[in-house]
């Protein structure tokens, strides 16, 4: 291990500060069953002489106060160790202790070696699990461990923020002078303090003693991270510090760039047998192409036929990755593959047919947003196709059997992708779903003298809504059973007839039409009739409940919901009151809500439209969005009131 010339910033194990005992649950924020009192981490280089391998030696030490039984979950620890082909992460020196105070007397219970368990989780991962003993309300727990990690590229990420608040979090990064890292801070909170110093000859590599920079980052009083609906990966927003190796100098002064230029990354990828190598395998399609394209003359229909062929042939195995797992011929034969097998085959197929298309690498929503400042190839975990057909661009992903041509799954809708165009430098393209999630409800019919509404209910699902509905219907053994279940939820509605279109052709809207009879009233012998037109798709709860939000609202795609109503009323009824006409838009007019109702020539006509034209709204829009939902919910409580004339 490293010699002791590094000044120790770590706090003393088990030596409580006076503040530690006094810490209370509202110290940092109001959400806390447990609180991190103090936390120190250190990462530094370590040379494995025998293997000649560079490692990161990481040390972590935490002190937590547990306030109640629920907070005792903070005492259950799981440390992941990744297994590689040649070398694996190695966890050591686990130390733990619980401190309780009984009648003012300090009592210590140590973590026993034999109560630390190792779980062989999978081929790639081992979990080291332990829980600290003797947890009471008010216990202070403390543990520390080391991990030797045989990968230096990302040095070590440090998360200042967690699901429980932290009073004090400190990270020390000791980096030899020959290694240059790009350092970036994410999240809304500022670093409280940074100290830097130099460690003379702090690291030795094959007899070359080099100086190290010693950076000490401190953040105090970090509130807990609270998740809400419509957010992408927490890692995009958690306050944390990230490292990327940019360049390395040799003893002779030569310099090797790690943070490559995109051009170098492009060359590397396009010559990789599991990426560019597969794109060139147009032969895989040579024999079958004539059959696929038979009778197709237009480029769009040719492309659609190849897309259809690939997704029928290869089923997605739920694995994400940027590289194919084998070659695409195998995947076509085995009928199984990851997204790269599928979409690299798609690009190869399109190219074989003379359709211009490129592979685009991207990062899925739960994987975080890729770094735009310089290429970080490990940020990407997925590949799709971008085709240019008859002058129009189409994003294609053949992993989802029920998706429309030109539609990307939600998981891909994450900022930008990098288009890998051969013989050109790759470039960023904003991932634009182009398609909305749109649902339109139509209700038309007649209110009969018996009080029954007889008519047609049509639900038109477009774009992502069509995909969602198609998936839902496909989860039933047959459409009949879907309708049966749907009607089971509307117990008073009698269904006379139904039809569902667009189930098989994924390019069409999915339209459900139900001919129904709804006994709304026992009779019409009332002087007033109260009719609530918001019978379907009603929103009862605001998805937004925070008083402020530090990260954007990311719906993935623009969306809208509309209702159109046309009901013929018996002649004797006139309008007494109706839901207010509303036109409400956000300051930049990119989201809004409109609603109007009127009675004209004995027909109640209503239209309602809630729209969100952007996929992503900034935190500044948060309160406006929240208010928009409030107004919609309030309006849906009001009725159309008729009176007998």
């Amino acid at each position: 291990m490293l010699s002791a010339h590094v000044q120790a910033q770590d706090f003393e194990f088990g030596q409580l500060a006076t503040d530690d005992q006094l810490a209370h649950k509202n110290q940092v924020d109001s959400v806390s069953n447990a609180i991190v009192l103090n936390e120190y981490g250190r990462a530094e280089f370590y040379l494995d002489d025998q293997r000649g391998q560079l490692n990161i030696q990481y040390y972590h030490h935490v002190r937590i106060k547990v306030f109640n039984k629920d907070g005792s979950r903070a005492a259950n620890i799981q440390l992941p160790a990744y297994k590689g082909e040649n070398s694996s992460d190695f966890i050591s020196d686990i130390k733990g202790m619980t401190i309780n105070f009984q009648n003012g007397n300090r009592m210590e219970t140590p973590l026993e070696r034999k109560n630390i368990y190792e779980e062989n989780y999978s081929k790639y991962l081992t979990l080291t699990k332990f829980t600290l003993p003797n947890i009471q309300d008010g216990s202070i727990i403390e543990y520390s461990y080391r991990v030797l990690i045989p990968r230096i590229f990302n040095f070590h990420t440090w998360e200042f923020q967690d699901r429980i608040p932290k009073v004090h979090s400190q990270f020390e990064a000791i980096i030899p002078g020959a290694y240059n890292y790009n350092v970036s801070l994410r999240g809304p909170y500022k670093i409280t303090d940074v100290k830097s110093s130099l460690v003379k000859e702090g690291f030795s590599l094959g007899g070359w003693r080099m100086d190290c920079s010693d950076m000490l980052y401190t953040m105090n009083n970090v509130p807990a991270f609270v998740e809400e609906d419509y957010m992408t990966a927490p890692s995009n927003f958690l306050s944390a510090i990230y490292f990327e190796l940019s360049d390395v100098y040799t003893r002779e002064g030569a310099h090797r760039g790690y943070t490559q230029k995109w051009k170098d990354v492009d060359d590397l990828l396009l010559s990789d047998k599991n990426f560019g190598g597969q794109l060139k395998r147009k032969d895989a399609f040579k024999d079958i192409l004539p059959a696929i394209l038979a009778g197709k003359s237009e480029e769009r229909s040719k492309a659609a036929a190849i897309y259809e062929y690939v997704r029928k042939q290869i089923k997605w195995n739920d694995h994400s990755g940027m590289y194919s797992t084998g070659n695409i011929e195998d995947a076509l034969k085995k009928h199984s593959g990851n997204d790269a097998d599928i979409n690299l085959a798609l690009v190869a197929g399109l190219s074989a047919a003379g359709i211009k298309s490129h592979a685009v690498i991207l990062s899925t929503r739960n994987n975080g947003i890729p770094n735009k400042l310089f290429p970080v190839i490990s940020d990407f975990n997925y590949v799709v196709a971008l085709a240019e057909i008859e002058g129009k661009q189409y994003w294609l992903d053949a992993t989802e059997p029920l998706m429309a041509f030109g539609q990307l799954p939600m998981r891909c809708l994450n900022d930008s992708g990098r288009v890998m165009e051969p013989k050109k430098t790759s470039y960023w393209a904003a991932i634009d779903p182009r398609q909305k999630r749109a649902t339109h409800y139509y209700l038309s019919g007649e209110l009969l003298p018996s009080g029954t509404l007889k008519g047609e209910m049509k639900i038109s699902n477009a774009g992502y809504a069509a995909f969602a509905k198609r998936s839902e219907i496909a989860s039933f053994a047959s459409p009949e059973e879907y309708v049966e279940t749907l009607m089971g939820r509307l117990p008073r509605t009698r269904m006379i007839h139904y039809s569902i279109t667009g189930m098989d052709s994924t390019d069409e809207d999915l339209v459900e039409t139900y001919e129904v009879e709804i006994p709304l009233f026992d009779s019409l012998h009332f002087s007033r009739l109260y009719f609530n037109p918001f019978m379907v798709g009603k929103i009862t709860k605001n998805p937004f409940s925070l008083s402020e939000r530090n990260y954007p609202v990311d719906f993935g795609m623009p969306h809208e919901e509309a209702i159109t109503i046309q009901v013929n009323m018996p002649k004797e009824f006139a309008l007494d009151s109706k839901p207010q006409d509303i036109r409400m838009v956000l300051p930049d007019r990119n989201a809004g809500f409109r609603s109007t109702f009127k009675l004209e020539d004995g027909t109640l006509q209503g239209s309602y439209n809630m729209f969100f034209n952007q996929a992503i709204y900034s935190p500044d829009d948060y309160l406006n969005l929240k208010e928009l939902y409030n107004r919609v919910i309030q309006l849906e409580k009001t009725d159309v009131i008729f009176k007998k004339s």
Partner: protein, 635 residues
Amino acid sequence: MHFLKYCICTLAMLSGTVSMAQKDYAVASIPKELLSRASAVLREEQCDIEMRAADEVVTRYHKAVTILNSAGDAYASIYLHYNGGQSINGIKGEILDASGHSIQKITSKNFTDESAVNNYSLYEDSRVKYFTPSVTAYPYTILYDYERKSRQSLLIPDWEPNPRHNMAVQSSRYSFTFPLNTELLISAQNCPTARQESTGKNTKTYTWEIQNLKAERDESLSPPEDARSVKVKIRPVDFYFYKQKGTYRNWNDLGKWMFNNLVKPRQTPTASMISTVRQLSSENPNKQQLVRALYQYMQHKTRYISVQIGIGGFQPMPASDVDRLGYGDCKALVSYMQTLLDIAQIPSYYCVVEAGNTKQNMDAAYASMDQGNHIILAIPLEKDTMWLECTNPYIPAGFLGDFTDDRLTWASNADTSFLLRTPAYPSSDNKQSRTGNYTIDKEGNVSGDTKITYSGTDYDEHLYLTGIAESEQVKKIAGDFAIDIRVQKIRLQRFDTSDRPSLAETMNILLPKYSAPNGKYLYLQPNIFSLVSVPPDVPNRRLPLYLNRGYVREDSASFAIPDNYTAEQLPKAIHYRTAYGQYDCSYAMSGQQLRYYRRFVRNAGIFPPEAYAEYVQFMSRVADNDKNKIIFMEK
């Protein structure tokens, strides 16, 4: 469920096979009547168990299932669970197209081997090999075989060939082969034909078979066990289990074996446990009081952590470890509590129970080790039995809640073992009563104070709130309702002194824009909190209606409405009485005050299938009335 209390590790049951017979698996040969409601058809299942000796049981399993459409894909995945006491060999399989021609071979290399430990468990001996086929053209058929060797004979796979939701059964067969002189315990339920018997040189074989069962529909609110389901269970009287031998013919035998071999050896008290008990005994001369004091001591000292170590997950951690470490799983915590009671010379029973919201009994007619997933403690007192749930840090002694109520448990101590029923909570005990005084402002915001008292199983479901930070309480409460609620102040009070403990929650709340002013009208739904959900219509209902637990909900609220409005007309008072429950609600106006009262009683019971439609009708009338709006008009 707010607690992870499961603990006995359920060993993977179904297993093993015969050589792959070249049969006709073409989809065309499936009998037409099996296709109705089916997304998958179990073409052929064969489970052949061979007990060569008490410590060597080999199960050969063969299965062929046809997947008709994507909704049936889940039935194509193969999950083979195993643990250190078993080995799985000879995995092979094949995927066939619609006409029954092979399109892919499957070998053990296609399987992923992973830990099957629950993510909340610190330790479990549990792994899984799994394979999920990738076929894009429907229909297709997957067939596979494997062999499982087990070095024990206490747990033997049962046969339950029943059709499932969306899956029909064309053919299933189960056989058990055993040495000639073996005594067996057999339970065969609803088998359409008698078992066949055949005799080998030194062995005998029993075989059961079933054919052509149609896929069945999921029917909501049906009893947990279908009385018509086919089930065969076999166990040898003389068994071997993790280096231990035993003999049993009934619950008493098995319980005494389990307790004396697995539990009792783990109950050696430490000096500190003895002195703690002595001290508490001197402070609490009354026996019942002492039990309560010891229980509180245990609750305070320990927390639930799942650690499934030792003898197939059936052996608790030593009581001395629990005392030192302050944690354990349900077995360990019950065994620890029992050890404390032993020191105080208070006898108690270690009780195995199938825990969960659904009430499941131990099979009174058939003893076996694999029934039940949880342990609780029973203490016989002068008048009645006191039950202790040892994994919950919040509840008072004697309270069980809906996790283990009203069902047969298997109670054991060193001398005896028998089945013992836990107490039921009658409908009238499971109660929430709420009062509220609210003011409506001109924008429609509703605010005021409300108080709710929970008792019975409702008490249990909300008690966890007392163990979390106030900011979390506020979020959880708001999350329970489908409307926007801002809880501004909250106070929780426990009343645990009586046999019927209760919890009172007092809050100041704001419901932003809950009421809606619109033109000259103001809309208000006075029933804010208590909305029922209506079960779906099930035409041609097949199964009985099962209403698991009854409850009572009582609400009274008053609303001060803005001065410029008046109620034009109030909805009529409602009084419904049915076999399934009763519903009363009424409205009254005095000055600017609206008073609302609602009482809903849901009964428990089992009713014939025809009753289901009536129940749905009752619930939808309740739901309609619950959503009644009062429309105030500008004066």
